[in-house]
């Protein structure tokens, strides 16, 4: 299996005390059943297809990529809301990839999640106090109702909510306040890692800043580690120490935040960055804009070789034949890895690049080649 070959490229340093979460070659497939008139074919959505990541203590790792690239699936694998198909996830030195529900309980205390939709992630029929007290009740923290109420009100205060609003329903709060409730719930158990699944993308821009700053304050106050998922690159840039870019279930580039934004090596990262809106229209006009051709291929039959090759302005025959490993390119530091055979040099005009591979040669995948 190619899984083992991949693992060999990343030295397994499970004992590194700086690493809180290690994701090794994690794969998550979702079965899809399509029934045509005569046959039933079982195919798989390759939502996350061999991802290696490290999340270090106290850092914020940004995870970006367009809709459907597997960011949220990866987040749900790390929080074990989904069982992974293969691979390994270690948290704090413990392999948690196959833990039973019961064995997961202590881990659930340490890993909390903030959800995208502040309307959908709070039960509309329950009072805010009871929602925030949920993690306490589930994990048996706090001996009495009164004690839990105190912890809940502390959490509410910590996230900038009026603790007096303990008895209200979620519908009585604005979107930003609701997201604060979600943050308070995630904080109630004082976790080590908070997975933020697009925590601000459903909010107004002005409210986004409030929540982002709140998360940053809480991080320095409580020593939290974040996995911060977003498709808004400017938000990710603001909060992240390191950034990973995902495309079709794979990490295509990972580096310190500044390196990704200033020296992106992967053509996809470059294209993604060129789409960030700039506040100054004059600057925006002058900027190179890379317009990708075509749509994201179906994750049911992902392209062979480099997954980005059907849309890549630099695609060559090698991109079809050989899947590029995620490793440092050009003269990048070891912390900056990109999965591209033809990394983009600083200052290179990607908009002018022409692929050496014609459209016919770009193989999306032979039917059934990867799905079985």
């Amino acid at each position: 299996m190619s899984a083992h070959a991949m693992q060999a490229t990343t030295p397994a340093r499970t004992d590194d005390p700086d690493v809180l979460v290690r994701v090794e070659n994690v794969v998550k497939y979702f079965p899809v059943q399509s029934t045509s008139l005569f046959r039933t074919s079982r195919e798989k959505v390759h939502a996350v297809d061999g991802v290696d990541l490290e999340i270090r203590r106290g850092e914020t790792l940004g995870l970006v990529g367009e809709t459907g690239c597997g960011k949220s699936t990866l987040a749900r694998c790390i929080t074990r809301l989904y069982d992974i198909t293969s691979g390994r996830i270690t948290f704090n030195g413990t392999d948690i990839s196959n833990l039973s529900r019961r064995a997961m309980r202590p881990y659930r205390r340490d890993v909390q999640m903030i959800f995208q939709d502040p309307y959908g992630s709070l039960n509309p029929r329950r009072r805010v106090g009871s929602i925030i007290a949920d993690p306490l009740v589930i994990h048996g923290v706090g001996d009495s109702r009164l004690e839990r109420k105190r912890i809940v009100q502390e959490s509410m205060e910590l996230v900038g909510l009026n603790p007096e609003h303990y008895n209200r329903f979620p519908a009585e709060f604005s979107g930003g306040q609701r997201q604060r409730i979600g943050v308070a719930r995630a904080l109630a158990l004082r976790p080590k890692l908070i997975v933020c699944d697009e925590p601000v993308s459903a909010l107004d821009v002005s409210i986004q800043a409030q929540i982002v700053n709140l998360l940053a304050d809480l991080q320095s106050e409580l020593g939290l580690t974040y996995l911060f998922i977003a498709h808004d690159l400017s938000v990710v840039r603001h909060v992240s120490d390191r950034v990973a870019v995902m495309y079709l279930g794979k990490v295509v580039e990972i580096a310190d935040s500044g390196d990704v934004y200033n020296h992106a090596r992967h053509p996809y990262s470059r294209a993604l960055l060129s789409a960030v809106p700039l506040p100054d229209p004059n600057v925006a006009k002058q900027r190179e804009r890379i317009i990708l051709v075509g749509d994201v291929p179906s994750p049911i039959d992902p392209p062979v070789g480099c997954r980005f090759h059907p849309r890549c302005p630099k695609a060559a025959q090698r991109c079809v034949d050989e899947e590029p490993p995620l490793e440092p390119r050009l003269d990048d530091p070891p912390s900056h890895a990109a999965a591209c055979h033809f990394p983009v040099a600083d200052g290179e005009d990607l908009a002018a690049a022409r692929p050496t591979l014609s459209a016919d040669e770009r193989i999306v995948a032979e039917p059934g080649a990867l799905s079985s």
Binding site: Q116, R126, R127, P135, N162, E164, E172
Partner: protein, 329 residues
């Protein structure tokens, strides 16, 4: 801030909740926690037909409770068979309403007024009891089928299909005759045995959509177990449809009880019961001699079911603000 939202939802203002009187600065702009049930109740309060029905139901419940008072005032025992021209005609026929027997007498010379009052007890006890059993069983089944899905859901769905396809009255008659001894519990369980399936089906549908909500995922990520999710996160969201369904189910249960008694497979004589009285009155209606014998238990049954039905409609409208009636007014 959120005050505007709250006010837009409810016209009337509410008292501050007792837990927090906001002794701090918050007192200046006190926002009141309004539960969905409070909102529904305040909508219901503006529905005149529902409120009238509610008071009618209160009156019927009172009559049922104070039924012995009727016996005391009239001096007629509920099962006492009176003889003589005041109670029975010389031919042994029921006597028309008179100053002694306000609602007339039945074929046994018993006071219909007292019997109608006592009959309200049976109707309400069985109606409420059967509805409660139906809703509890139906909600539990719906929660389990909808939440666990898969094979559990398939098995429950088949059982529901079977139950719904059984002709209810025929089966009830057969069951009751097999059981022989009939008491209130048997009647309630027989009625509930056919009602839970449709409740279960509706609740299951609700659970299917609630199960996919993000807050369920949130609960799971916190480490909540299946039963905690079912009872703490899903159940509160199906209570409203369950309440609506039970108010609509109550009159159905009352009519079902009357129907069973009418057929002689409900509560057994000499217990006073509306269905039984209607049944017994039949032979006097054809000949046109004793209209009161049918009329009084019949009108009691109609008023009771009508009141419950109108209240049920009102409750449904109150819980579903999008329903048309609210805007039509």
């Amino acid at each position: 801030m959120t005050q505007g939202v709250g006010d837009a939802l409810v016209a009337g203002r509410a008292e501050a909740p007792p837990e927090f009187d906001g002794s701090v600065a918050a007192a200046s702009r006190q926002i009141v926690g309004r539960s969905p049930f409070y909102l529904a109740f305040s909508r219901l309060r503006r529905d005149r037909a529902a409120i009238i029905s509610f008071w009618v139901i209160v009156a019927i419940v009172l009559i049922a409770i104070i039924a012995p008072v009727f016996a005391t005032i009239t001096g007629h025992g509920v099962n006492h068979q009176y003889r003589g021209v005041e109670a029975l005609s010389p031919a042994g026929q029921p006597h028309a309403p008179s100053s002694k027997f306000w609602f007339g007498t039945d074929d046994q010379g018993r006071d219909i007024l007292v019997r109608v009052a006592y009959g309200a007890r049976i109707s309400l006890i069985i109606g409420i009891g059967a509805t409660a059993i139906t809703i509890i069983v139906g909600v539990l089944v719906g929660l389990i089928a909808g939440y666990f899905g898969g094979i559990v859901d398939t098995i429950i769905a088949r059982i529901v299909d079977v139950v719904l396809s059984i002709p209810y009255l025929l089966f009830a008659i057969a069951l009751v005759s097999v059981l022989g001894h009939i008491n209130l519990w048997v009647v309630m369980i027989v009625i509930a045995a056919f009602g839970w399936a449709s409740v279960g089906r509706i609740i299951r549908g609700q659970v299917l959509s609630i199960r996919e909500r993000e807050y369920i995922e949130a609960a799971r990520s916190l480490g909540a177990g299946d039963w905690r999710i079912i009872f703490h996160d899903i159940l509160p969201n199906v209570i409203a449809p369950a309440i609506v369904f039970s108010t609509l189910l109550l009159p159905v249960s009352i009519v079902a009880e009357a129907a069973l008694s009418f057929l002689g497979v409900g509560v057994q004589p000499p217990t006073a019961d509306w269905g039984q009285m209607i049944s017994a009155s039949q032979q006097y209606i054809d000949s046109g001699v004793a209209w009161w014998y049918l009329f009084f238990p019949g009108i009691a049954l109609v008023i009771t079911t009508l009141a419950f039905n109108i209240l049920g409609d009102g409750v449904r409208d109150a819980f579903d603000p999008r329903s048309d009636r609210l805007f039509a007014k």
